[in-house]
């Protein structure tokens, strides 16, 4: 194609977008390392390497310009999201397999960058939690940051996990409410455990805060818009508020819901994936509200540790429909549409 107008462009690139996303993850990552040890860094490295290898292989097979796409940073973003949603002390092959599945199957078999209908990291999470439910729920205990023990857990043949794992706040809440005696209450469970914090679980609330800070920065950088994070958190909080007001013994409150598990990561980094998410302003609100609703349902009534991944995939499915029905009015046509609504 001939070089036609416009003849100059804003210096923006896909790589720039991806690098900013990675940068925005750093505050949350710092808190993660502080509270749960450096194991996550090992996982990040493993997943990143796997992502780049898988990306390289698929680009070569598909005869695409390898360096152009390999350097766009999108594979690394996927790898980081896989690593950050998986238990950091999971065996080394789990993250690698998950990342390869995300890159090879969910991304490239659907057409590569920009074409995948599902969020690659969330699809990988769903696959692994179905395949290895036990490993996927072995989360490290907060404060236990001994790196060599963690390394043994990741690479060693003998994984002595009992000493270093602990139920996450969400897990504790569900198992005890569902299985234990009928006297268990939300306040009782969360309050009884010394290591659980006051907001979203000790450690986890700080990680969530880090994601929140990075996410707000992303909004200010115009990498994402406010719609998805706001609608997600507002919906989740609204449902949690109503439920906990109705029965505070059984349902956790809004602040806990927003600051625990993957909620904050989802709000700013997962649901905001532009490729698999809704794109219109109204569509984004509906899409994010849908994820929040499904997340709350799965968290509260489901059997899995968190509901983010399934909720995201389910809403990914609805994106074409949402986008089609939420097209914003075009310049000058706002009146037409009002008149259309009124009818003849």
């Amino acid at each position: 194609m001939i070089n036609n107008s416009p003849y100059f462009r804003q210096p923006a690139s896909v790589r720039g977008v991806m690098l900013k996303v990675l940068a925005a993850l750093l505050p949350g990552l710092a808190a993660y390392v502080w509270f749960f040890g450096a194991a996550i860094l090992v996982q990040l490295a493993l997943c990143s390497a796997a992502a780049l290898a898988g990306e390289w292989a698929m680009l070569a097979i598909r005869k695409k310009p390898v360096w152009l796409f390999l350097s766009d940073g999108s594979a690394v973003v996927t790898a980081w999201l896989v690593a950050l949603t998986f238990p950091p002390i999971a065996p080394w092959w789990l993250g690698i397999m998950a990342t390869l599945f995300a890159i090879v199957v969910v991304k490239h078999l659907y057409g590569g960058l920009g074409q995948n209908p599902f969020n690659p990291a969330m699809a990988a999470y769903c696959l692994m939690i179905v395949a290895y439910p036990q490993i996927m729920s072995q989360w490290p205990a907060v404060g236990f940051t001994d790196f060599s023990t963690q390394l043994t857990a990741i690479f060693g043949p003998d994984r002595h996990l009992d000493a270093i794992t602990m139920a996450t706040p969400l897990d504790a809440l569900r198992t005890q409410l569902h299985t234990a005696d009928a006297r268990a209450t939300v306040a009782g469970i969360l309050g009884s455990h010394a290591t659980f914090g006051n907001i979203g679980g000790k450690g986890w609330e700080w990680v969530a805060l880090g994601y929140l800070i990075g996410g707000v920065w992303l909004v200010r950088q115009r990498i994402i818009t406010w719609h998805i994070p706001t609608a997600f958190l507002a919906t989740l909080a609204a449902i949690a508020t109503i439920a906990s007001l109705a029965n505070p013994a059984v349902f956790a409150g809004p602040v806990f819901q927003a600051f625990t598990g993957g909620a904050m990561l989802c709000a700013f980094f997962i649901a905001t994936d532009p490729v698999s998410g809704a794109t219109t302003p109204r569509g984004k609100l509906i899409f994010a509200a849908g994820i929040a609703l499904l997340t709350w349902i799965i968290r509260t009534f489901g059997a899995y540790p968190d509901g983010i991944a399934f909720a995201t995939l389910l809403m990914n499915l609805c994106v074409p429909l949402i986008d089609m029905h939420t097209q914003p009015p075009v310049f000058g046509h706002k009146k037409d549409e009002e008149e259309d609504k009124k009818g003849p």
């Binding site: 194609m1 070089n3 416009p6 003849y7 310049f331």
Partner: protein
């Protein structure tokens, strides 16, 4: 001063403006070139017909191209001289196509044709429109729409607001800026004329606030002239604030949809340069023969020049001294301009800027990446489109869907491509889709015409056949009647014959006048007889008379065959 309430349009971008490069020097007059190549087609609408021939002497301002109908605009000689040719020359258009031009060799005297102010105040609106058309006044913002077509109050009978567009939002271009600074009175007087012609209640002159000198000069002129109901409004600098619809939105809050007339909403919009041209045409009686052109980009001294139409762009570029690494000439700005096929193409009414480009100034776009649906383009779109969806469908050639996403509302401002992190040349895809859709519509129209013609032919043939059959039927009835008469005669005859004792064998047809078999037999017999007569003759050398005779016979035989055919089914019964 009262602060006017302004409105905003969504989207838009803030590119580097590069205005300071060309607006620090006053407007200079570009010298007359050795040869002026004046295209006849310089506006939207019909191509004016040439009124001069090679060898004719013309004077400055003389009509050389007569408007073709009402949607067209006149073209004039930019100076006095001799017409060297009226021939196709390369046009200032990306296509590289040629079109008829009047080539004039200036005589250097620059002699005006006799001209006098137009008494427009005492003329009917139609007469004023004709005067503007004959003065060649068109929109000088770049769209070159014939201005006379816009000088009417519209359906409502009057305008609420007349917008004069001095926004000049494209980077590099400063021709309107400089004209407003140096010739504000002409613009204000032109705006006042347009106000009276359109019966507008108020005139708002919108100027982007990065041109404070122009705003000040225009305000001073309004005050000096005591112009009524004309307000100079500084609008926020954001590309494309100078788009007519965007500026109307900013100044009045009204959104004129694609495909609708702005007058239906009580608004009309003219460029400041056009207002000046209107004033010149009506108050001075001068047709449009030159304009102010910015020469900028990869040049030593960017500046504005008053350039006669028909001056080769390279002559104007030479004044500004293009740098050696220049690799292209663009007409218009960097956001919406068109690349010229050669620097030799002439300056025309649409030439607001000659932008000299180089690889350093306008680097070739980095490799295109897939769309990641980040939505930056939708945020930048001043028409609130979803550019990535239009791109998706244009690329996949699903043009119907592209149109559903309002492809034709796209003003091709380039904001989407400007912000795209995947560096997709989005506007190129829209241009491609639009031209494909137009081509298909043309094809469909052509096919429809062909089909209609074919159907008409079929109908005609059918009709002729029917007429022929009717004639034959008439003839057959006649024959029948004749035979019946003969039979009657024969029936009447036997008595006499018997009486005479002469046995007359009954005619075979007599008993069955209504029997087609008999008719055929009779006809065949007659044909046989005729054939017998014709046969012996030498067929190779036939006189015209004979040929005519044969033709006649052939025709008759054909008719008979028809009758025989018609009789066939009855025989089968």
């Amino acid at each position: 001063m009262m602060l006017k309430k302004l409105f905003a349009f969504n989207g838009g971008v803030k590119p580097d403006y590069h205005k300071g490069e060309s607006n620090h020097l006053p407007i200079a007059a570009a010298p007359l070139p050795a040869e002026l190549v004046i295209p006849l087609h310089q506006s939207i609408g019909g191509v004016p017909h040439p009124l001069v021939h090679a060898g004719d002497c013309v004077r400055k301002g003389q009509l050389i191209g007569g408007p073709d109908g009402n949607v067209s605009s006149a073209v004039h000689a930019s100076t006095s001289g001799t017409v060297k040719a009226v021939e196709p020359r390369l046009m200032p258009h990306t296509s590289g196509l040629s079109a008829p031009c009047v080539v004039i060799e200036p005589d250097g005297r620059d002699e005006w044709i006799e001209h006098a102010p137009v008494p427009w105040r005492s003329m009917s609106p139609g007469e004023v429109r004709d005067a503007l058309r004959d003065a060649g006044v068109v929109g000088l913002g770049g769209a070159v729409f014939p201005s006379h077509l816009k000088v009417n109050p519209g359906k409502l009978g009057h305008l609420d607001t007349l917008v004069i567009n001095g926004a000049e939002c494209e980077p590099f271009i400063t021709c309107d800026d400089m004209q407003m600074r140096e010739r504000p009175e002409g613009i204000v007087k032109g705006a006042a004329i347009l106000r009276d012609l359109t019966q507008a209640k108020q005139v708002l002159v919108g100027i982007e606030d990065n041109k404070p000198e122009a705003v000040a000069a225009m305000r001073a002129a309004v005050e000096r002239l005591k112009a009524e109901r004309i307000e100079i409004v500084a609008v926020p600098t954001r590309y494309p604030a100078g788009g007519a619809k965007q500026l109307i939105r900013v100044l009045t809050g009204i959104e004129v949809p694609h495909g609708k007339r702005s007058t239906d909403y009580g608004v009309q919009c003219f460029n400041t340069g056009t207002a000046y041209a209107v004033w010149e045409a009506l108050e001075l009686g001068r047709p449009l023969i030159s304009r102010i052109v910015t020469v900028a980009g990869n040049v030593e001294t960017a500046r504005n020049y008053e350039v006669h139409f028909g001056t080769p762009m390279q002559d104007v570029i030479a004044l500004a001294k293009a740098k050696p690494d220049s690799d292209r000439v663009i007409m218009g700005g960097p956001m919406m301009g068109y690349r010229m096929p050669s620097a030799a193409v002439p300056v025309v009414k649409a030439t607001n800027c000659i932008l000299v480009g180089s690889k350093a100034l306008f680097p070739p776009p980095p490799p295109e990446m897939p769309c990641i649906r980040c939505g930056e383009c939708a945020l930048a779109c001043p028409v609130d489109l979803q550019p990535f969806e239009m791109y998706w469908f244009s690329r996949a050639k699903i043009f119907g869907k592209a149109q559903e996403y309002h492809l034709f509302d796209c003003i091709e401002c380039g904001c989407c491509a400007y912000v795209c992190p995947s560096r997709i040349p989005l506007v190129d895809y829209y241009r491609f889709a639009k031209s494909e859709i137009w081509a298909r519509e043309n094809e469909k129209t052509a096919a429809d015409t062909a089909r209609e013609r074919y159907e008409f032919r079929l109908a005609r043939e059918e009709r002729e056949k029917a007429e022929k059959a009717a004639k034959l039927a008439a003839k057959a009835t006649e024959t029948k009647a004749k035979l019946a008469a003969q039979a009657a005669a024969a029936a009447a005859a036997p008595a006499d014959a018997e009486a005479a004792g002469a046995a007359v064998p009954p005619e075979p047809t007599s008993t069955a006048t209504n029997d087609p078999k008999a008719l055929i037999a009779a006809a065949m017999a007659r044909a046989q007889a005729q054939k017998a007569v014709v046969h012996p003759e030498n067929v190779e050398q036939i006189s015209p008379e004979k040929q005519a005779e044969i033709a006649e016979i052939e025709a008759r035989r054909a008719k008979l065959r028809e009758v025989a055919k018609a009789a066939q089914p009855q025989e089968d019964q």
